[in-house]
């Protein structure tokens, strides 16, 4: 495949930004991920799908540094990434959301989104506490980014509401807003539509597409809902029991016999 290409709907997909090479992850005697390799290209929406317990979330945790694989290499922006703590990965520009929502429940929506800007705050401690000079300009700039994202995700009305009061669907959206506020080079979404009703799912799908389209953000997402994944993503990795059983465009994957077997079951005769 060429270094970059243009999709049918006119978006430009760039070169590989992250590459997983022969990743193996074990918990004691259990192999959660077995020798998996795949890459993520700049500007694409990359989905990881698979039945329950396939190791999808583990894979995302490896990318975001929450798990360190026993074997294999993670290549990011053309260099091998050493074993890192999750906060260091975040500082490198990889933002994520969680399957079970991890928000700062006691803070307002705006404060939550502003924490997403933490990696972009550079001025000194003293200047910040005095709210002077560069610190002031920086805070204003950060605030503008946060407000832009709040507008974008249509959560202006709840800016000042403590997150704990929000319904589930909105919490998911706030979490996306916080991740976006970091202006990440890769955005990892762990089941962004889990537990949502049809309408909420449609909203979320639209936001994911808009984010990718508007900001050119590279997105890697995990999702159960096959229909959603096929509509959203440019390329799909399919996992089953920790192994990669398919990798390609949605139509390629849909016609892959191993994938069909994993999802529908195989008759043993």
């Amino acid at each position: 495949m060429a270094d970059s290409y243009v999709t049918a709907d006119g978006r430009t997909i760039g070169p590989v930004v992250m590459e997983m090479k022969n990743i193996t992850l074990r918990f004691g005697g259990v192999e959660a991920i077995k020798d998996i390799s795949f890459d993520i290209r700049e500007g694409e929406i990359r989905a990881i799908i698979g039945p329950n317990g396939a190791g999808k979330s583990s894979m995302l945790n490896v990318i975001s540094g929450f798990y360190v694989p026993q074997e294999g290499e993670v290549w990011y922006k053309g260099a091998r990434r050493p074993a890192m703590k999750p906060f260091e990965v975040a500082q490198q520009g990889i933002a994520r959301t969680f399957q079970n929502i991890a928000l700062f429940e006691g803070m307002s929506v705006l404060d939550n989104v502003m924490t997403g800007r933490l990696t972009h705050m550079k001025t000194g401690l003293f200047a910040q506490s005095l709210w002077k000079g560069k610190a002031e300009a920086e805070e204003i700039a950060n605030r503008e980014v946060a407000e832009k994202i709040i507008d974008f995700l249509e959560i202006q009305a709840i800016r000042k509401t403590p997150v704990a009061r929000l319904p589930y669907g909105l919490k998911k959206r706030v979490e996306l807003a916080r991740a976006l506020a970091a202006e990440p080079s890769i955005l990892l979404l762990d089941e962004p539509m889990a537990g949502m009703n049809v309408e909420e799912k449609e909203d979320m799908s639209r936001f994911i597409l808009d984010v990718n389209d508007e900001f050119g953000t590279t997105i890697a997402l995990i999702e159960h809902d096959m229909g959603v994944v096929m509509d959203l993503s440019d390329r799909v990795v399919v996992m089953d029991y920790g192994k990669k059983i398919g990798d390609g465009t949605p139509s390629e994957v849909r016609n892959n016999q191993a994938v069909i077997d994993a999802y529908l079951g195989v008759a043993h005769d």
Binding site: S64, F66, K85, P86, F87, E88, A90, Q91, A95, R96, T97, F98, A102, L103, F104, E105, G106, M107, D111, M114, T115, G116, L118, T119, M121, L125, Q128, S129, L130, W131, A135, E139, P162, A164, R165, L166, P167, R178, A179, A182
Partner: protein, 335 residues
């Protein structure tokens, strides 16, 4: 002017001052609780440890002198110099930062994700350990916190003439007020304003609040838990040092200093465990409340000594009617 009224005002003022000192101790609790959800039982002992270290460094004491002498059969007790107060304070700050690092490295790093009660038990252990270390390091005798060094520069302390009680003339009546208390109030105000600015406006402050709320989420936005915890324990150590200086100057550096932590508990229940301004307001209410209650009701009608239990009674009332305290975060739960 009415003699009785004037005297009441004086009691009120002295209550405010006492309240400031309670608030200083309570502040240390709030800081750690806010950032890590740990109720730090050792805060009072940290104040004692800080004060003893300060005095020890000032007087040029050899740390662990008794231990060294017992092992090597030597007889060293002092280096034979005395250190300038300000230098001693800076050195003590470094000791408190080292302590914060050690606490994080050897205790709490191993307890990440444990139940709050387990963390609380760890701080109880820490309190006894620290008390023992302070004892072993600097000896257990009562010391005057003599914050005047040989060249005559003085820090506020009780042994200093200027800081003893002074009578202020106002409204045709002489008010007796301890100068030390005035200094303590000013220091407390500066400290609180500084801490609030830190928590509200700085990156580290925001990160601190984030860590307090959700560890996983904090990691995902690029916050190092370890760094924030060390930072918070250092801050708490610094607040403990200030509290130790103030209390030590008032009543000497001795082991009962660690018991002032108990008075900080009702202060926290009033102010709310998570609020920096709450610690101050709670401290003032308790300070004024117990002095006025003693003066107006306790002494004339109840036979006195109400100061010992008034604060706890007030805290109990708050627990019944407003468990989150005056300024504590509302407990929101959506089911």
């Amino acid at each position: 002017m009415n003699e009785q009224l004037a005297f009441t005002i004086e009691v009120f003022a002295n209550g405010l001052m006492a309240g400031v000192l309670y608030a200083l101790v309570a502040l240390g609790f709030v800081l750690i609780y806010k950032a890590s959800g740990i109720f730090n039982y050792a805060q009072g002992v940290m104040a004692l440890f800080a004060a003893m270290t300060l005095v020890g460094i000032q007087n040029g004491q050899v740390p662990f002198a008794h231990l060294i002498n017992a092992i090597f059969g030597t007889d060293v007790h002092k280096f034979g110099w005395s250190v300038h107060s300000f230098v001693a304070i800076v050195l003590t700050v470094f000791v408190m930062i080292a302590l914060a690092w050690a606490v994080q490295r050897f205790v709490f790093r191993h307890l990440v994700g444990q139940e709050p009660i387990i963390l609380f038990m760890a701080t109880i252990g820490l309190a006894y350990f620290l008390e023992g270390v302070a004892d072993l390091m600097w000896g257990s005798e009562l010391k005057a916190l003599n914050v005047c060094s040989s060249d005559g520069t003085c820090l506020p302390q009780g042994m200093n003439m200027w800081l003893e009680g002074t009578t202020y003339e106002a409204l045709g009546y002489g008010f007796f007020i301890d100068n030390l208390d005035i200094v303590a109030s000013i220091v407390a105000v500066i400290l609180v304003v500084g801490l609030v600015m830190f928590a509200q406006y700085t990156k580290q402050g925001r990160a601190m609040r984030a860590v307090a709320d959700d560890h996983q989420a904090a990691l995902s936005v690029g916050v190092s838990l370890n760094f924030i915890w060390i930072l918070v324990w250092s801050l708490a150590g610094f607040v403990a040092l200030v509290a130790g200086i103030m209390w030590g100057a008032k009543s000497g550096v001795q082991f009962s200093l660690s018991l002032i932590a108990l008075k900080a508990l009702p202060v926290l229940m009033l102010g709310g465990f998570t609020s920096i301004p709450g610690a101050i307001v709670g401290g003032l209410i308790i300070g004024v409340g117990e002095k006025l209650f003693e003066f107006l009701i306790g002494a004339p009608f109840l036979g006195g000594a109400t100061e010992n239990w008034f604060a706890y009674m007030l805290a109990l009332l708050f627990l019944v009617f407003r468990p989150q305290g005056l300024f504590g975060e509302k407990i929101i739960e959506r089911v």
